[in-house]
Subunit: 195 residues, 2 copies
């Protein structure tokens, strides 16, 4: 296989990139932006080498434990469970929450072959039952997958004696946190209910 | 800037990738396809190091002169000028043409700041006036930019005493070769007219 074909095929690992757009990308990179292509190659290599999961919140980080988890000013008695780092970012932007997080890095989604095992929920259990966490707030999306995840995780943690709550269904049904206005997300947090 | 942010930004060199989809790509690569990400990083680096422009047809190649230009079975008296490698591939698929090619790697497009100078037409002139080429066939797209390019290149080569033709307007006006059925492209080639 030629280097050109290898690169075209390699670009198809990116979600949403088909054969035509991969080819367009190749021409664009080689013809118009070789510097950008070099930067991308290096950024991928560095990220793969040095980005890992925080030992506590499971978010991406370059350290063993991320800065947010080490921040003593945050309320360690509250643990907010979100699907993705982008959801964590939305919660943070509301300034309604001062506790800590756990990032699932996904959601239960049988169609994509992602069950409880693939989400490695053991790590969440260990984190939530460390003795300092008093309340786990489930902030997964209100999609079918997000709800299923909340039900499963909630059940799992409640049987271990933890107080579990769910952010209020202020977020529109079928909607995703990332695309919701901050006020709605903040209210949903304040109105969380027992789960 | 964190490695995560660097990678997100680096992915935006890809055409059609905005901030949201760059972020989705980062999560996907780091969480679900690290092997693919490593392959992509390596493929980019190899392509940048070893892919260059053929000294004769200007197409991408790993050699000094590409295989097609070295193929003695092809008719060296005909030179077909196309915009992009994908257009060359379409011409080849029609099996209607047995001559050689010149790939402009673009088109005259004032809005994108691409004029005759940026297309490095000197290389085309040198190629077309090497003494063996008898006819130059313009097979740029029938978009405004493609037509402008054909007019400019045609004029330029005709004043140097070359016979210049244009593939027939069988390709729908405003259409692009890449998205046209092979029969239409083949007929357009057969019905090329003096230019």
């Amino acid at each position: 296989m030629s280097l050109l074909d290898s690169l075209t095929e390699a670009l198809r690992v990116l979600p949403g990139v088909g054969p035509k757009s991969a080819q367009r990308m190749v021409y664009h990179l080689l013809q118009r932006n070789r510097e950008g292509a070099a930067r991308l190659s290096a950024a991928l290599a560095s990220a793969l080498a040095d980005i890992r999961h925080c030992g506590r919140c499971n978010n991406f980080t370059e350290a063993e434990i991320c800065e947010r988890c080490l921040n003593l000013a945050r309320d360690a008695s509250q643990l907010c469970v979100v699907e993705m780092p982008s959801d964590l970012a939305v919660m943070e932007s509301t300034h309604a929450y001062r506790g800590l997080y756990y990032v699932l890095m996904g959601r239960i989604s049988p169609l994509d072959g992602i069950g409880p095992r693939e989400l490695k929920l053991d790590k969440l259990i260990a984190r939530a039952t460390d003795g300092t966490v008093q309340e786990v707030i489930l902030a997964t999306n209100f999609t079918n997958e997000g709800e299923a995840t909340a039900h499963y995780v909630g059940e799992m943690l409640r049987t271990r004696g933890l107080k579990v709550s769910r952010i209020a269904r202020g977020v529109p049904v079928g909607g995703e946190l990332e695309h919701t206005d901050l006020g709605t997300v903040a209210q949903a947090f304040v109105e969380r209910r027992g789960w």
